[in-house]
Each structure stands twice: as structure tokens, then as C-alpha cells.
Symmetry: C2
């Protein structure tokens, strides 16, 4: 029985997997942005009392996970599976969080698309009856990402206007089975369907052009989602991509218009987390990026809006640039990917 | 309905997800080992006609995937999802394979445990009715892994006796829904249940002691699997770990005996892919390791034995050392993980 597959790339959740908890931690700069008030914890110092940025990022992810579990009224022992990924080589933050919490762990890597990848698989596990409560999350840290992917921060190199600012942020949700969900929440948010993205390579080779590298993948996933589900863009109150930033968002809107979508509808229904996290005056050039960008904007801002009934139907599409530090030296370009999860207030 | 979860960490598959295709590519040295005859493709040159080892590994994974799909009588267009991971930073091999095949892709990272992680999630997607055909695979390459995790190969540094040899190998399977499975196979292999592992850190800090770092995680997963399913070790014709190697296998056997399992039963029912891929005369010191080790031994040797009816019940437990190149310099040890998938001939 392939009863939960729709169209080419999408799946539908019939057992109402419910988001029962959400948690997030944001860095100092992120806390000063327009969404600063939304976050559970805002760091005063991005070292977070640790001796390295990597350890700080690990601690941020762990705190976001524990906060999400606590909001769901659960302890780590109640959680069946933890799904997580980050940008650090060999998923350092996620592995150490899983080690410290002792929760059965499935490591994921979808670059900055990891938040929707983890949410998608968490929803499958709960919807399919394989788990009662699943933690799904992702994290990133400006300083760990810069030194791994670009230049050591201490180098103080100039960033081109197209460069995006990796968010120092972590976010997590608990996805629970319908009957196991906490009934005291006023508005309950459910995962309704999801679309698994394909890798699309637009031929971009510049690590400072992430938005351009990811936008074609986001367009591909969105168009396939709409086709698979038979919906138009205005079915959703809001469609948000993960971290295309200002340039990527413009490319996305142009490509969607080229594909025949109504320009006004795109303008009123579509936005990008990478343009929401920081204000333009914060000097982040191309906008925000990183796994933590959509993870924190989703768990801090968007889910809160859904709980308050301001957004009823949301399509979350975290976007990832599968940038390797080795492949550009071997003449390869940067492949992009985006996964989509449809969320509904019921 | 949490009807597919059993015990603390395990899930059960009730809709008979079936392995309908398998494919693998092995390196030159692997081809000269005791299992050399089993592999679909044995390389004459580990560059595989490419200009870099990374590109060679990508090509190996892609060929293994295409071979598995072909055995299942499928083209890439017939495959709903591809699940894959490798040891390269940012999953280079897997990302490029997903780009070239255009199959919707979920990237995974469980270090050398990735083969069972991908098989486990593939079985969930098929068993739960979310997909008809899913490709699950993993790859590794001696030269890409050495230069990323240890020393450049050209450096020619001496390897301690405990060091393991990363397999140059890739393996993949197609997991298909029961009713979609190819009926012409004589013996059909089904995924029956699975156990999601926890991260266990034994405090090992030496990147040349992978077996010791992973064995405690393998013991934890195996004991939890047996407890969750109410089975004893002799329920299985064979229990195989991924790549503990000679030292890790000895530690595993000791720890299992300490946990009260019958020593003779351990001796007759348990083995490790890392001790099967090479002969001792091939000078690989601690045995084989790498994602590709269990991926190739499973898809080349073990599944063939199952198809021939020589093994009826197999517990495959790929083992991963979540070794980061950064964390040891920050005083961290190497966390281990192992996932288990129970396979049956029916």
C-alpha cells in the first residue's frame, strides 16, 4: 500500500503528527534583529561560556532540544528518536548533543535544508506509527561556519555584497503522535504533507553566492509540491524558504514568475527567513544563512504566529547549498537542495 | 497509533519491505580479498578514470546505485527517494550522485553506520506507504578518507597496528513495497525490524583506535535490539557489525560475554564485516573500515548468501565512529553509534 505518496516527490500525513514543543537559542547579533523578542534564549556572548565556538554551537543545539522537549512536557527519556544535523564536519554539534542526551539518534546532512529534512523524517516516523515523540532540529554558528567554509574570522577578510551571514542559532521541535499530543495548547500545529527535494545544480561556483546556488532548487521543490498536491500558491498563508537571502529571494521570485505564477500572489504569499532574521542596518550584506536561520525563524517566529492563529497554513522550505570545501578546487559547482513541509493549524 | 514501535529503540516492519536490487563497486585491493568474487565491479585503478579520488568515489557510489536499480528492473525515474551518505565533508559523493541521477534525495550522516541508517529509513518509507522504491547506499574511499581524517596518502606515514584500512567500496540496495517487488527472485529478502542506535562515547581519543571507539555502541544497540524484540542471539543465523575490525571485534565479544551472553553462541553467530573484506596477508593491520565496508560486504556477500538460502535471518549492524577532525584538538573523544536492521528470507 503506497497510500501516503502523492505525485512524484510528495508524501501526505494522515495521522496528524503534531508539533507539541519548540525551542531555540539565538546569538547576540540575531537577538538584536527584528525577531529578537521571539527567541527563548539570546546569547550575550557567542562563546556561550564554552572554550570553543564548536562547543558553543553544540550547547546551543542541546539547549534548543531540551527547551523543545520541556515545552512538550517531556524529558529526554520520553523522546523516541532525535533527528538533527548541522554544518560542522561530521555533524559535531548534533553528535555531541545526541551523546549528552542519550536519545536514539539519526544524523542528517542537507546543509541549510536540514531543518525541513529533520521535520520531514520526524513526521514520517510519527505519522507511520514508528515513534511517539521525535525531536527534530538543526544549528549553525557564524564563527564555526566561516572558518570551516570560507576564511578564519580572525583574518578579517572583506566580504562581497552577495555574501550571506551564517546565523548563530539553533532550533528544534518535538513532533508527537496525534493521541500523544499535549491537549492544553490552544492552536495545534500539524504536519500535513511534505515534498522531498531533488539536487539541482545551477552551476554556481562562488561560495559567496549561496542564494543563487539554492534558488533553482527551491523553485523546483515548490513547483513540484504545488503540482503533486494540486494546489496554487495562495493555498498557503505563507510560503517561506530557508536562507536564500535578498539576492536569492529575488531570483526565486523571478523564476516563479517565469514559471507562470501570479506576480502579485508571489509578492503577498512568499518570503524568506534569510531576509527576516536581520535588519538591513545590521550590515549582513546578502542576508542570513545557515541551518540555524530557518530553524530559529521557524521555531521562534513562525510557529508562534501559527499558535496565535495569525498563520493557518505554512509551507516551510529550508534550502541547502551542498557546498564542499574540496569540490570547488576540483572544478565542481555548488549543488542546491530544498525540502518542503506543509504545516496547518487545526 | 504507535503500532510499529517495539521496546525503547526498535521499530517493526509489518508491510514486508523487500530488497529487490543490490549493487556494489569495490577497489582493486578489495577485489583481491577473500570476497573479491562477490562484487559487481572491481576497479583496476582506484582513480576509476577520474581526475580526483573524490570524483572516483562519487562515480563508484553512482555505479552501485545504478546497478542496484538495474537489478530491481528499475530506472532512476522509477525510484521515489535516494538515501545516502559518505565520509567526505558535506557528503560530496552522495550529493553529486543525487545531482546526476535526479532522484529526490535525503542526505544522511552516521559515519560508517550509514549503510544501516539508510536501509532503516528506506524500510520505514516503504513500510509506511510513503514510497514504492527507495535506493539506500553508502560509500568510502581509502585515499579520500585518509587525507581528510588522518594524513595525506603521499606523506607515507607509518600506521600503527590498531589502524584500520578504509575500504574503497560502495554499496546500495533498492527497498521496494511488498506488492511492487520483483516476483522473479527465488529467495526474497525482507526488512523485518530495526533498532535506532544511541551515541555512546567510550572516551577513545585516538583516530587509529576506531574499533575500540565503536564497539561499546554496537554492544548497546545489539543488547537493546535483543531486549526490544525478546530474542536471543541465536534467533539470527548471523549477526554482523560493520567495521569494528580485529580489535573491535574482540572487544565486542568480550563485552557481550560480560553482559551474560553465551560465549559459544557469540563465537558461532557473530562476525564483523571489517574482518571479512581483507585477508590478514593483505597488510591492513586492524582490518577494514569505512561506510563502504559494510555496504559492499552486505550487498556483495551477505545478501547473495541470503538469496541462496545459506543465511535466513541476518542482523546487520553497521557501526560508526563520529570522528571529527576538529574535536580531538578541543579535547573531545570519539563518539560511536550503531544501527541494526533485521533481515529475513521468506
Amino acid at each position: 500500500m503506497i497510500r501516503k505518496k502523492i505525485g512524484r516527490q510528495s508524501v501526505v500525513f494522515t495521522e496528524s503528527p503534531c508539533i507539541t514543543g519548540r525551542g531555540n537559542v539565538a546569538g547576540e547579533k540575531e537577538g538584536k534583529g527584528p525577531l529578537g523578542e521571539c527567541f527563548d534564549i539570546v546569547l550575550k556572548d557567542d562563546m556561550y561560556g564554552e572554550k570553543s565556538w564548536e562547543k558553543a554551537e553544540s550547547k546551543m543545539l542541546k539547549e534548543a532540544m531540551l527547551k523543545a522537549a520541556a515545552r512538550a512536557g517531556k524529558t529526554p527519556e520520553d523522546i523516541d528518536v532525535m533527528l538533527s544535523g548541522d554544518l560542522l564536519n561530521q555533524l559535531m554539534s548534533s553528535s555531541f548533543t545526541a551523546r549528552d542526551t542519550h536519545i536514539p539518534f539519526l544524523g542528517l546532512y542537507g546543509a541549510c535544508s536540514t531543518m525541513t529534512e529533520s521535520l520531514l523524517i520526524a513526521s514520517v516516523l510519527v505519522d507511520g506509527g514508528y515513534a511517539r515523540h521525535v525531536l527534530a532540529g538543526a544549528s549553525s554558528h557564524f564563527c564555526t561556519a566561516e572558518r570551516q567554509f570560507r576564511m578564519p574570522v580572525e583574518h578579517g577578510n572583506q566580504r562581497p555584497p552577495s555574501a550571506q551571514w551564517t546565523a548563530t542559532a539553533a532550533g528544534a521541535v518535538v513532533v508527537s503522535a496525534g493521541e500523544a499530543a499535549n491537549l492544553s495548547l490552544k492552536s495545534r500545529v500539524y504536519a500535513e504533507s511534505a515534498t522531498i527535494g531533488r539536487v539541482i545544480d545551477a552551476g554556481i561556483k562562488d561560495a559567496n553566492q549561496m542564494g543563487a546556488a539554492m534558488a533553482p532548487a527551491a523553485v523546483d521543490t515548490l513547483l513540484n509540491h504545488l503540482e503533486d498536491t494540486g494546489r496554487s500558491l495562495d493555498y498557503y498563508d505563507m510560503v517561506v524558504t530557508g536562507d536564500l537571502g535578498y539576492i536569492g529571494k529575488d531570483i526565486m521570485m523571478d523564476l516563479l514568475a517565469d514559471a507562470g505564477l501570479n506576480k502579485k500572489m508571489i509578492f503577498t504569499h512568499y518570503d524568506d527567513c534569510g531576509t527576516m532574521l536581520f535588519s538591513k542596518s545590521q550590515d549582513v550584506h546578502g542576508g542570513a544563512s545557515g541551518c540555524g536561520c530557518s530553524a530559529a525563524v521557524f521555531t521562534g517566529h513562525l510557529l508562534k504566529q501559527m499558535e496565535q492563529g495569525k498563520i493557518k497554513k505554512l509551507l516551510l522550505m529550508s534550502t541547502g547549498a551542498l557546498l564542499s570545501t574540496i569540490s570547488p578546487f576540483q572544478g565542481e559547482s555548488i549543488p542546491g537542495i530544498a525540502h518542503a513541509v506543509s504545516l496547518e493549524v487545526r
